[in-house]
């Protein structure tokens, strides 16, 4: 019962807000929206505790029948296991905080029923995604969150740019969705089921008897699913929608484009980890894409000025880490980073949102600076967030990110390059995050007079949730402390997630290194490299931006103008896509329409009719329209027929 409440409270909130309370005041929509989420969180918490108390064994909660055709069956079944239970808490928990915060953020809007309706709907869809026991229910959520993302990015639809950004997000996601769909088809074709629990059982019990064809199919399935993950989790080459998605209100960026939706790809890969384990080639691709994304996005973030854009690229980069973790087979590390990232990135986005509110919706960091004085609480929590994301020892990011890097290091010699990319990305992360912190909160204030007058700390509705998130960002890391570090409990999270992960027997050999013993010194050394790099990058950022834009920073920008311009323009990827994909497609469509359709096909159709007209014109040139003539012709015809009949 409680479980159904978790699912349907947000939906109920969405319907209430979206269809019934359209004339209600902002406060009402805020309260309804948040209450639905808080209620869902409480239910989720109770369900979760109950679940853990009973041993934390995966259970399938059967629901209504959904699609049944031929031999295909996809009921609304839900799965409650350690992975989805954790996601349940993250989504409803962080979701509640963000809902509460959003009331403050959106208070200048005329009405917000639409906003909260979409947000609640999003949570509902996200829950479908994580709770679904089969690929199809997951796909409802998968596309459903895409829809909500589309609606929320385009929330301020009066601006054409926002509408365009929403559309871009939806369409790029759809490219990934095609991959997901093909994955479903292949799965069904190979295994005649799309249910996770059945698949897992099938692979693990009858696993040894998998024939070559099936293994081959699994390779394609995982690849197709990974394409889906690339779309949703903003990996190369489909990441382009995420930076544009920042057009939406900031709480949306925090909830959807940082904490929950974008991690769906990682979640999905973890959910079917038993398949991925069987496809080492796919895993290799996944890891490479992840590492490349992490580095690629991190370099772009180095030179952005829009505070949200920095965070957006940072999100892409961090997602790259998670994907890298999955690709290495270290799903625990990936999911753990998902968890810590959800906390600190939500925190950073919400903090940025507070800054943006205080700055009257200006997002350019060149106009900020010195906000520490005006917004002490925000500054403090942002500081915690930054320390967490750059992996400062003791903060959550440190534990989760270093775990992934360590796994990359130990995965074998071939993977050292991935480790290198990850480490460089970590250095970049440290640089741009500290740069963001410096430009926003330190140095002189560069805003205009009018804005400065109104700078103030935000209301408790807004900073309250920030404090909670800050605590999580700091403490979350201690759930999974590496063994080398002296701490009372080690690897709690790894233990927690172990039942979810399952390496099929055939692939066990290939993944032996995951559990191999290593010398403590080696781990310390790897850790030291990243920490040193991080510290170095942080100091240089402080040096360059600690007092506003130092002359050195401008000089560097001019000295390396080429690189700087390429980075500011995001490697011209958008331009490349526009000219290499969108324009040719448009031209081709135009060609298809004007030439193929109108000129050729329709030309033939009309040509046939014109040919008929021509022939009839030729034969009817004597047709004066005179009744006599017609009658005579008829008569001659009758005579002819009579002649034939009579003789």
């Amino acid at each position: 019962m409680l479980f159904w409440l978790i699912l349907f409270l947000p939906l109920f909130g969405a319907v209430l807000n979206g269809l019934v309370l359209r004339r209600a005041s902002k406060t009402v929509s805020h309260v309804v929206g948040s209450a639905a989420l808080v209620g869902a969180f409480i239910c989720a918490l109770l369900t979760y505790l109950d679940f853990m108390r009973s041993g934390g064994h995966a259970q399938v909660i059967p629901g209504m029948e959904w699609i049944e055709a031929g031999s295909f069956k996809a009921p609304f079944n839900y799965i409650l296991d350690r992975l989805s239970g954790m996601m349940l808490l993250i989504i409803t928990g962080i979701g509640s905080l963000i809902h509460i915060y959003a009331g403050g953020y959106m208070h200048e809007e005329k009405n917000t029923y639409r906003f909260f309706a979409y947000l609640n709907l999003f949570v509902f869809m996200m829950l479908q995604l994580v709770m679904g026991d089969n690929l199809l229910v997951m796909f409802i959520g998968w596309e459903g969150v895409g829809l909500c993302s589309y609606l929320l990015i385009g929330y301020w639809y009066e601006s054409d740019d926002n509408a365009a950004a929403g559309m871009k997000a939806f369409l790029v996601n759809r490219i990934g969705d095609i991959g997901f769909l093909l994955g479903i088809f292949l799965t069904f074709q190979t295994f005649h089921t799309v249910s996770f629990s059945q698949l897992k059982e099938l692979i693990l019990t009858a696993g040894a008897s998998l024939n070559g064809e099936q293994i081959h199919a699994i390779g394609w399935i995982t690849l197709a699913l990974f394409v889906g993950a690339c779309g949703k989790s903003a990996q190369l080459p489909l990441y382009v929608w995420l930076p544009d998605a920042m057009a939406g209100p900031t709480p949306v960026s925090a909830l959807i484009h940082a904490a929950t939706m974008v991690t769906a790809g990682v979640y999905m890969m973890t959910r079917v980890n038993f398949l991925f384990y069987l496809a080492p080639t796919t895993q290799m691709i996944v890891a490479s894409v992840g590492a490349a994304t992490a580095l690629f996005a991190a370099t772009i973030a180095l030179v952005q000025y829009d505070i949200k854009k920095v965070l957006a690229y940072s999100t892409v980069s961090q997602l790259g880490y998670m994907v890298l973790g999955c690709g290495l087979g270290a799903y625990t590390a990936g999911v753990f980073h998902l968890f810590t990232h959800a906390c600190f990135k939500a925190l950073l986005f919400l903090g940025a949102g507070s800054v943006i509110t205080a700055m009257h919706h200006k997002q350019d960091m060149r106009e900020m600076g010195g906000l520490r004085k005006y917004m002490p609480v925000t500054h403090l929590v942002m500081l915690i967030g930054v320390l967490a994301i750059i992996g400062f020892p003791g903060f959550s990011g440190f534990f989760s990110k270093d775990e992934i890097l360590w796994k990359a290091w130990t995965a074998g010699d071939r993977f050292h390059i991935l480790w290198g990319m990850g480490t460089i990305a970590a250095v970049c992360t440290a640089f741009y995050m500290v740069r963001l912190l410096m430009l926003t909160f330190y140095g002189p204030n560069r805003s205009d007079h009018h804005t400065r007058e109104h700078l103030h700390e935000t209301s408790v509705v807004m900073w309250g949730p920030l404090v909670v998130l800050a605590l999580l960002s700091f403490g979350g890391g201690y759930l999974n402390v590496p063994h080398v570090i002296p701490f009372p409990e080690h690897g709690l999270f790894e233990e927690y997630l172990a039942p979810v992960l399952a390496i099929p027997a055939q692939a066990a050999e290939h993944w032996e290194h995951l559990h191999a013993e290593h010398e403590a010194g080696e781990e310390w050394a790897v850790m030291a490299v990243s920490v040193l790099g991080m510290l170095l990058a942080s100091f240089s950022a402080i040096l360059l931006y600690g007092r506003g834009f130092s002359p050195l920073s401008t000089a560097l920008a001019t000295r390396f103008q080429g690189i700087h311009r390429t980075l500011s323009n995001k490697y011209y990827v958008d331009e490349f896509y526009a000219s290499a994909v969108v324009l040719p497609l448009k031209d081709m469509s135009y060609f298809l329409w004007k030439i193929v359709d109108v000129a050729i096909i329709d030309g033939i159709v009309n040509g046939v009719s014109q040919a008929c007209m021509l022939v009839s014109g030729l034969t009817s040139f004597r047709m004066s329209g005179s009744l006599h003539r017609h009658g005579m012709v008829m008569l001659v015809g009758i005579l002819c027929m009579l002649t034939v009949l009579l003789f």
């Binding site: 829809l147 009066e158 095609i178 088809f185 329409w593 159709v605």
Partner: protein
């Protein structure tokens, strides 16, 4: 009650025709409106009756009526419903009252004729759906064209004569091919068995010899392909849709196009099963091309109605490939794809019908359909925005709407039949989103650039009344597909698995048996 069960299909078919006469005889337009509305509601109730008492456990033909019509030639009056046409019958009867509601406010000197033509059109469509005799079917099939010809030709846009002539001549050309094939089939069947018959019940399961089958199938397939329309026979559709009045577009997209796909499933496949195996790659290929081609064309359109029209080409491509997904080396049709194809027909009727209604709503307010003349309507017409978004989402096949269930099953089945076709067809999912979201964005979002758009009024209660059922149904069909699939499953499986030796048993009207079964089940 007994009478009703024995004659419900005849009633269903001819009540609209009687209504048409009653409309013509009504002294005033006001009365004519009510008469037509009552007539269409009665038809709808009858269709619900059929729906309710339809036994979803059997693949047989139900509510069958068989009478000798022209015994000399073996032509019979046979009507019946099974899983393949049940949903379409209900859809037709469902859409008609909504359409009547949408033209409620129109009053021209010829409005009465409009209503009468519309009701006779409904008769033609229902008749061709339930007819189970070639000649009987053919009569309805052609009769249906006549009202449509006038609906477009009299109440259409400024290029209406061209459009309506193109529509009727094109369709007619195809139909003549079919007629010729029917006669050949009739004679061949006589030569084979010594019986003159045009009844499908007899013709099923006794296909003509192989080389002839190819020709006959081609003739039937072209006739239906023109109606669907399958690429490259589609060019009449954008013209007809653009010029037709809103009501005409809705019924054209909602039901008439489906008669083409229905015809393929009902006639072409089971009558000429061996030809199906040879032609399936070609037809699936054309379907896939149609999906991509229609979508890309739709993307380029500047006229909202034309865009929706091209989208129909794309969407019906799905239905076509779903109907011809052969699995097991041609041993059977994929039941998943076939289910999807049947389901997608209904869903397309709902979503595209709603889209045409919505375009009609703004056309009435602004007298333009060019996308460039709109923008930012979400602000002034929020409810219109909601409806448009729902229709769009259903059209692009977002999970949770009916479009997804249909498209997914079709793609799944097609993929299993031919991974290449399935993969390329999946592109339609993306391309569909491209043009539909472009449509949404250009109409709803962005700044309001035209002064006239600032004072547009939102949906009136009447407009709500005909849009809401469609919106709700679009979602219900996505969330509770079993509500519909449960009824049609046996018929589809029968055709899918036995299409090579298809037989359908005519069952007596079985209110009592069905009622008994229901009672037993509840016990």
């Amino acid at each position: 009650m007994d009478f009703l069960n024995h004659h419900v299909l005849s009633l269903l078919t001819f009540v609209p025709l009687l209504t048409a006469f009653a409309v013509l005889l009504s002294p005033s337009l006001g009365l004519a409106r009510w008469v037509s509305m009552l007539g269409s509601l009665l038809t709808f109730l009858l269709s619900i009756h059929v729906w309710y008492y339809f036994d979803g456990q059997t693949s047989g033909l139900q509510f069958t009526e068989i009478h000798n019509w022209i015994p000399t030639f073996g032509i019979k009056y046979i009507m019946g419903v099974d899983g393949l046409n049940l949903l379409l019958v209900v859809l037709t009867a469902f859409l008609t009252p909504l359409i009547l509601l949408s033209v409620w406010h129109l009053d021209g000197s010829k409005q009465k004729a409009f209503l009468a033509l519309f009701m006779s059109l409904e008769c033609g469509m229902l008749g061709s759906l339930v007819a189970f005799d070639l000649v009987f079917f053919y009569i309805f099939w052609e009769a249906m064209l006549i009202p449509m010809y006038f609906l477009i030709g009299i109440w259409g846009g400024k290029n209406r004569i061209y459009a309506t002539s193109k529509f009727i001549i094109y369709t007619f050309a195809g139909s003549l091919l079919m007629l010729a094939a029917m006669i050949v089939l009739y004679i061949l069947h006589f030569e084979q068995t010594g019986i003159y018959t045009t009844s499908l019940l007899d013709l099923y399961g006794a296909p003509p010899a192989y080389p002839t089958q190819m020709w006959l199938f081609a003739a039937f397939a072209i006739a239906f392909a023109i109606k669907v329309p399958v690429f490259p026979f589609h060019t009449w559709l954008p013209d007809a849709h653009t010029e037709a009045p809103t009501a005409g577009s809705v019924i054209l997209a909602g039901v008439m196009l489906k008669l083409g796909t229905y015809g393929l499933v009902r006639f072409a496949i089971p009558l000429f099963p061996e030809a199906v195996v040879s032609y399936a790659p070609l037809i699936v290929g054309l379907g896939v091309i149609g999906i991509v081609y229609g979508a890309l064309n739709a993307w380029m359109q500047t006229d909202a109605k034309r865009m929706v029209a091209y989208s129909s080409v794309s969407h019906l491509g799905f239905v076509v490939i779903g109907s011809f997904a052969l699995i097991g080396g041609g041993a059977a049709l994929s039941p998943e794809a076939l289910t999807g194809a049947i389901y997608q027909q209904i869903n397309h009727g709902i979503s595209t019908g709603a889209l045409f209604f919505l375009v009609g709503v703004i056309y009435e307010r602004r007298h333009t359909r060019l996308l460039a003349d709109f923008g930012g309507l979400a602000k002034v017409m929020p409810w219109f925005g909601v409806m448009l978004i729902v229709a769009t989402l259903s059209s692009v096949g977002l999970p949770g709407t009916g479009g997804f269930v249909g498209e997914f099953l079709i793609l799944l089945g097609t993929f299993m039949a031919s991974p290449l076709a399935g993969s390329v067809a999946s592109l339609g999912v993306l391309l569909g989103a491209i043009y539909m979201l472009t449509l949404c964005r250009k109409i709803l979002f962005g700044p309001i650039t035209h002064e006239e758009n600032k004072n547009l009024s939102d949906l009136t209660p009447r407009e709500f009344a005909y849009l809401t059922p469609l919106a709700i149904l679009a979602i219900v069909m996505g969330v509770f597909p079993n509500l519909f699939l449960d009824k049609i499953r046996p018929s589809i499986e029968n055709l899918a698995n036995n299409y090579k030796s298809y037989k359908i048993v005519a069952e007596a009207p079985a209110l009592n048996e069905a009622g008994d079964k229901r009672a037993e089940a509840s016990r």
